[in-house]
Symmetry: D2
Subunit: 358 residues, 4 copies
Amino acid sequence: MNTFGHLFRITTWGESHGGAIGVVIDGCPPRLKIDIEVIQAELDRRRPGQSHLTTSRQEGDEVQILSGVFEGQSLGTPISMLVWNKDAKPSAYEHLKDVYRPSHADFTYQQKYGIRNWQGGGRASARETIGRVAAGAIAKQILREQEGTEILAYVKQIHTIIADVDSDTVTLDEIESSLVRCPDATTSEQMAEHIDQVRRDGDSLGGIIESVSRNVPVGLGEPVFDKLKADLAKAMMSLPATMGFQIGSGFGSVMSTGSQHNDPFYNDHGRTRTRTNNSGGTQGGISNGENLLLQVAFKPTATIRKAQETVDIHGNSVTLSAHGRHDPCVLPRAVPIVEAMVALVLVDHLLRQRVKSL
Amino acid sequence: MNTFGHLFRITTWGESHGGAIGVVIDGCPPRLKIDIEVIQAELDRRRPGQSHLTTSRQEGDEVQILSGVFEGQSLGTPISMLVWNKDAKPSAYEHLKDVYRPSHADFTYQQKYGIRNWQGGGRASARETIGRVAAGAIAKQILREQEGTEILAYVKQIHTIIADVDSDTVTLDEIESSLVRCPDATTSEQMAEHIDQVRRDGDSLGGIIESVSRNVPVGLGEPVFDKLKADLAKAMMSLPATMGFQIGSGFGSVMSTGSQHNDPFYNDHGRTRTRTNNSGGTQGGISNGENLLLQVAFKPTATIRKAQETVDIHGNSVTLSAHGRHDPCVLPRAVPIVEAMVALVLVDHLLRQRVKSL
Amino acid sequence: MNTFGHLFRITTWGESHGGAIGVVIDGCPPRLKIDIEVIQAELDRRRPGQSHLTTSRQEGDEVQILSGVFEGQSLGTPISMLVWNKDAKPSAYEHLKDVYRPSHADFTYQQKYGIRNWQGGGRASARETIGRVAAGAIAKQILREQEGTEILAYVKQIHTIIADVDSDTVTLDEIESSLVRCPDATTSEQMAEHIDQVRRDGDSLGGIIESVSRNVPVGLGEPVFDKLKADLAKAMMSLPATMGFQIGSGFGSVMSTGSQHNDPFYNDHGRTRTRTNNSGGTQGGISNGENLLLQVAFKPTATIRKAQETVDIHGNSVTLSAHGRHDPCVLPRAVPIVEAMVALVLVDHLLRQRVKSL
Amino acid sequence: MNTFGHLFRITTWGESHGGAIGVVIDGCPPRLKIDIEVIQAELDRRRPGQSHLTTSRQEGDEVQILSGVFEGQSLGTPISMLVWNKDAKPSAYEHLKDVYRPSHADFTYQQKYGIRNWQGGGRASARETIGRVAAGAIAKQILREQEGTEILAYVKQIHTIIADVDSDTVTLDEIESSLVRCPDATTSEQMAEHIDQVRRDGDSLGGIIESVSRNVPVGLGEPVFDKLKADLAKAMMSLPATMGFQIGSGFGSVMSTGSQHNDPFYNDHGRTRTRTNNSGGTQGGISNGENLLLQVAFKPTATIRKAQETVDIHGNSVTLSAHGRHDPCVLPRAVPIVEAMVALVLVDHLLRQRVKSL
């Protein structure tokens, strides 16, 4: 269904060109300060049109809180938030009404439902992530204020360009000062140039976003199915365009032996820590207090301006050429979305851990 | 919690050395043929001690069906299955009672619960997967008989040794005829030799399991959070020792541009298909009828015989040396587990899809 | 949480004097005709101010559909609906800020959350039922069009006045033509007079609503916990002011013996039916095709104008006198709410039943 | 599905004459003392054959704990318990294979599933409640030890015989010293005689069970759908043979006006209490600290020895006469089941309340 989380549970709704896009948070504890400015700031990070590199759609995306907050504090009741779809121009999509765009959801939605809103992607649009980011902004506030947890994400790789980033020390300022949200300044410029080149070619690029979370409480994650790494994997793979997820040493772990890969424990002034962090902050699916480290692979954006072979809903071969501007690389905008998803997973498990002690 | 799936829902229970290990399936449709021999055969594939390469524990792992089946058919009521823990020798673990084994769940369980069953890994033991495999065996039967869906998995890589497998044509026989469940015969032998060498060294290896599913119905997977790729990612990352998940072109997708990566649609005698399958069988999170292709990375097994630095629960530094035999590479036994998890995800979404039509 | 239903799942949100009140329906099958006029008509039945007997608040309660519907049809994606709180006058509730109204939720909310929106009941307001009625209107449409199921409710008793109604033959017109939604014309007038008298006294009345559903498909309801009667009981007891629920012969069943109470089966032209319907349309928790018959007891409304003894949040004794007009009997307005809840339970089980056949 | 509860979640499984009956508890907090003797004692209270008044089946019903408990303490992992079906005699039910017993689940199961285990009621058997009672025994231990909560139930009425019981002072000893679990000694004898008479007639009786819980923490229950009264209603109406549920003044509340029915608050030495308890311990769906008072109506048992008219699965009219002994009144045995369900609801909400504070 359209719900994520068990105790801090969000339900998102909305098509890209229906009336509005929104989210309902159920399970937010009461008496927490809710700052709408902070939520809006996160939405602004996600918004298209932040630079000449991205799509020119200018929605504004101003969030409204409709319930669950009273005099600046959470009530413990559902928090409903919405953003109106101001920029909707259905007619601009008329030519896509009967065409299956390659590597988009058009074909599968049509097969699954026998109906689809063909205006701008409908439910499969990236606009759906607005609700995630708004809810994630509240989750981040809770984690920061209750546990001192800091959640960061940044662009680690675009196409063949790989950044050099120290996950232990990277700061939000370093990330935000980059046009492409890559905190490695030299690489950042190369990435921006490459994206701009590809944009002019009418093509698109993918890449890897890395996320680090510091001061994660020990003990988050449930054995067996709801392991922290499993819920994080689901969170990331539920994002549009994601193709892979890895935690800690990830796929690279297979290149070492057990004696090389195991993280030895040691006593760090009374606190049990590990000397290495190949595990990426979880063991047995439960956070161990080390930095939570993960990577997500995004394929190159499916929407390109270059001509493509495809078929229409009647099975006729057609050549598709996208009109207007397009977003050649979503990774910079996806950074706050990845952070939001990490935050939603962590806050849910934080609440679940509260139940453990009677 | 210890439950997986929404409509075909399994709940597993049991510690490695408690009385028994089991699973309850809730939501299995009625009047389906349930063949206990088929279930047992899958459990036998998962069982340790199949070759000299694996751990010598000989449980037998004979499954009993306690409810939900009547005269060989499902009743529509919960199917309860269990396997007794016959080989339990708690005393063999006495020396581990107070020690945190590196990259195991000992430390995190202790922190999370303040108590743990230290006998053989307790709930974090690989024996927990018995319930998954038993339930998955039923899921596989349903998919095969109802939809003709075939689910295969095999060892694609161990350490640095990579197999050459054609996912379109590989057969179960090719997989099962290999000691390490790698259908590339030459590579299979190299892998077996390498594992045996590492076992003698007291060390361990990881690797990559690849899975292909053929004849997957179009339309499985839900938009947004319960995308097919998201539920598969969660399924795989909920397995012990998994470090990464990718679908289709996965992490490799970032090396191409959109025009290279998009899968063009064409009309194949009335059926809409894609010329390439970089998407790995899902688009917009929904199956498109192409082969479902995924890979899972397993770290080298944490249990090794080599001496390791660690601490005990009192914070004292200790050196840990595992006794007896160990399993230097779990991948061959993990193959049926990966298949089971794919089957559980697919059958759940098959049932969910039934609800779409009124 | 604020979610009801398993496959046709609604999440309601909103306080009585926050920005808006709304509902998200997740799981509505695609390609169903959604008529907003029908939804609005049900909301109008629930709306206060329909007669001089009820509260004078005039909200209009105009519903907006924000997502999930495209060109008059359901998309299969979440249907989000909201009603703005136009008539909010927080200042009118200032005197209630620190007072616990007897038999209201003020005290328990304050204890549970440590915070509450004291304006008009906040989340505990009857306005919350707007979302239920809007969602129920869609559920009713589905049941009527797919199964020919008709769901009716009516006022059976107010205070000591009991109506004489034949549940087999009563019609919607008979119900709606009564000011108090009691289809027994003579009794209806007595009820209306009695309510008006009590209103002038500043007091309030409760009563019993009866509901009959005809053409309910056989087989709805799940064994054990999600029995149809259990889900109906939960649905009704989740409404404000409800004190009791009974199905079929209900509490009266205890006055008969088994041989008197059992419903004998007979063959009615090829259809297995029961000669009596003491079971109220369900056996073993599953619908048997007979009329679904239930009753719900509502206590007299807690809000009265008469002076009452109570305490404030500091523990001081205070005397409370409600200002302005009040609603002396909510039962007429509760009739469409009861119908909505029956519809929500039935449509959820209708979808669940679809999963049973592969 | 076959699951009840959100955070303290039980899944029951088993048919009356399959291999076994069992329950899995997921969500039991760790480090709680689990006393199997206490669980067995509750099962013994539920067991048939406790007196000449009940069915003669002698199962023993010895419970085994298979997981989740280690050295007498809960691990925080799933607690799996089972009871073997020792007394199964399928052949005794052969004559019922094709017959729909009146007011039983035979017809509806057959319609729903197209298959049923016709041996002794299958999944619809009262034996299913074994799992509930075993899990409830743990819930009761938790509530007693953590909160001092005492949960009692007793027979309030059988047929026309009504007991006089003071719910404020009644004790477990008074209840258990009665053959029929009616703490009013005089009435108890009348009830026992009446049951015995009806048993000899081959007929059966129903009645009302009342339950009182003392020292219930304030704040249990969620607004809107998961109100405490709603979850209790569902719990009770999920039991076989229940026809009605009421809380506090229940159906009787309709006979009073608001000014008579409202429970005035007062300050009782610093604690806010109510002078009356018409609300039955909950307001706004949330516990207020007063005694939790509820009643459940059970119809007369459907199984009788008297001849009854019915049809078989082919639609032929047949006359059914039950063989052997029967249980003419299940209420005495249902008392521990009602207690168990109250405990399961309360402990679930106790855990849910823990999440409210960060």
